[in-house]
């Protein structure tokens, strides 16, 4: 008989992380700082080389944090369509980003292709690569509980946090309902996947209308359940937490913070200030334009 080893993993927004991952030791508030800084870095930097390095660093970090990359890889396909999007734009409509004295490097029919416009396209594309990989990293290492406990520490109100948590819960629920509707329609002889691409949007209504009915029914049921469990709040949502409220279960059991978190947050703040200064002195400009 062979023994099978069971590996505990946590479900994040995008994938799974190993229970022993360093990401699980990191404080939820540190993850919020990572989200803010890692999304700001590629915007401050114009140099595509630095942004490309940052993008690859994010992928390496995903490996270090033991995120299951098989679930993440499909999102990099977005970058392929994005490349098409940006380069068609700068090749065929690049005059406005080519500067006052553009250099023509090729002619496609009557279209002039400018080197400065291509440089601009490279800068934007690599920036998007860095931004998307940063977002993927964050979504791969963050769980709903992390986000909720961080929001609690940031004094976001219980009501706002509850609605947000429910929204995330409903995504999975409706995703499964959508699949159930698909199966039901398939049993009646309608399979959207077997339809040609141009016809798919036309048959979408057969899925949309039942889904709308299910949504409203489930929302009313959820609201009634909440009321029966004594959930009470004013109709106008208060975003910030009132003083003197007890710590929630999520806030108590999912919250963690150590000296390492202080060091990471301090490092991120210093790096952010450093980048702003570097930008001010033109050290992170695009050399290809």
């Amino acid at each position: 008989m062979s023994t099978q080893q069971i590996v505990t993993r946590y479900r994040t927004f995008f994938s799974y992380v190993d229970a022993k991952s360093p990401a699980n030791k990191m404080s939820p508030i540190t993850k919020i700082f990572i989200l803010l800084f890692f999304n700001a870095y590629p915007i401050i930097i114009d140099n595509p080389i630095y942004n490309a390095m940052f993008g690859f660093l994010n992928i390496i970090l995903m490996k270090i944090f033991k995120a299951t990359l098989m679930h993440v890889e499909k999102y990099f396909k977005v970058l392929m369509t994005l490349a098409l999007f940006i380069f068609v734009s700068v090749i065929f409509f690049g005059r406005s980003v080519a500067g006052p004295n553009p250099t023509i490097i090729a002619n496609i029919g009557s279209v002039e292709v400018y080197s400065q416009a291509l440089g601009f396209g490279v800068m934007v594309y690599v920036r998007m690569f860095a931004l998307v990989s940063a977002m993927l990293l964050w979504l791969s290492i963050t769980t709903t509980s992390d986000l909720m406990s961080a929001f609690e520490k940031l004094k976001i109100s219980y009501v706002a946090r509850t609605y947000l948590t429910m929204a995330f819960r409903f995504i999975g629920m409706f995703d499964s309902d959508f699949n159930t509707i698909q199966d039901a329609q398939r049993a009646r002889g309608l399979d959207i996947k077997s339809q040609p691409l141009w016809r798919r949007p036309f048959v979408f209504g057969y899925y949309l209308i039942p889904l709308v009915a299910i949504t409203i029914k489930k929302a009313i049921e959820a609201g009634t359940t909440m009321e029966s469990r004594a959930f009470k709040a004013p109709l106008k949502i208060k975003l910030l937490q009132e003083k003197g409220l007890k710590q929630s279960y999520v806030g108590k059991y999912y919250w963690r913070y150590s000296g390492k978190d202080t060091a990471i947050i301090a490092l991120l703040i210093i790096a952010f200030a450093g980048l702003l200064i570097a930008r001010l002195y033109g050290l992170v400009a695009n050399p290809f334009m």
């Binding site: 989200l35 999304n39 700001a40 590629p42 977005v78 369509t81 994005l82 098409l84 999007f85 940006i86 734009s89 700068v90 065929f92 409509f93 005059r95 406005s96 980003v97 601009f120 800068m123 934007v124 998007m128 998307v132 940063a134 977002m135 993927l136 979504l139 009501v159 609605y163 429910m166 929204a167 995330f168 819960r169 409903f170 995504i171 629920m173 409706f174 691409l197 798919r200 949007p201 036309f202 979408f204 209504g205 899925y207 949309l208 209308i209 889904l211 709308v212 009915a213 949504t215 409203i216 489930k218 929302a219 009313i220 959820a222 609201g223 009634t224 909440m226 709040a233 004013p234 109709l235």
Partner: protein, 195 residues
Amino acid sequence: MGQVVRPQRTAATMGSILAAWTGICIVVGAYGSLSLPIGGYVSGFWPAMALQAIGGIWFGMWGVIVAFLFPIISDAIGEAIPMYVAATLIPANFFQAWTVAWVFRRFKLNPELKTRKDWLAWILVGCILQNIIGATLGTTAFVLWGLFTWEAQPLFWAGWFVGNTWPAIVFGSLILRIATPFVKRTRVYVFPDWW
């Protein structure tokens, strides 16, 4: 006799519809975008637009909040659109829900689309005008991010406008006609109020 008395709206039911409508918009937005992608972040078919507009009419400001909130989550999860980029689409998404919600309330129109006036307002404002505003604000945000140039904007504007308008006309009209009589009997139906 004959008067319909609806139970009072509570934070629990309205919060639930806020969360549930966000959930459905995300699922529909993601599946819709994948079925006919044009390129990058513009889809030739975005049925979530129909739900954005209907949400504003049925659920008032709760629906409008969903309209600008859900794309931030769905864009991040569905297409990994960075947070700051998604945040700049808030004005576009706000007007894609608020405009028709305001017109239906201001001119006391019927969301069941019973008269010619209701139909005109829905098609001209809910499906066309809203998307003109949304496509203009949205594609301008993308130009300012450098995702395409000013000269290319009309091309992508047309992609956004067409991709949003025709699902709104087809599915939005269908849902309003079929589902409004059912939804108006529930306590989550806010029309003609805002909250």
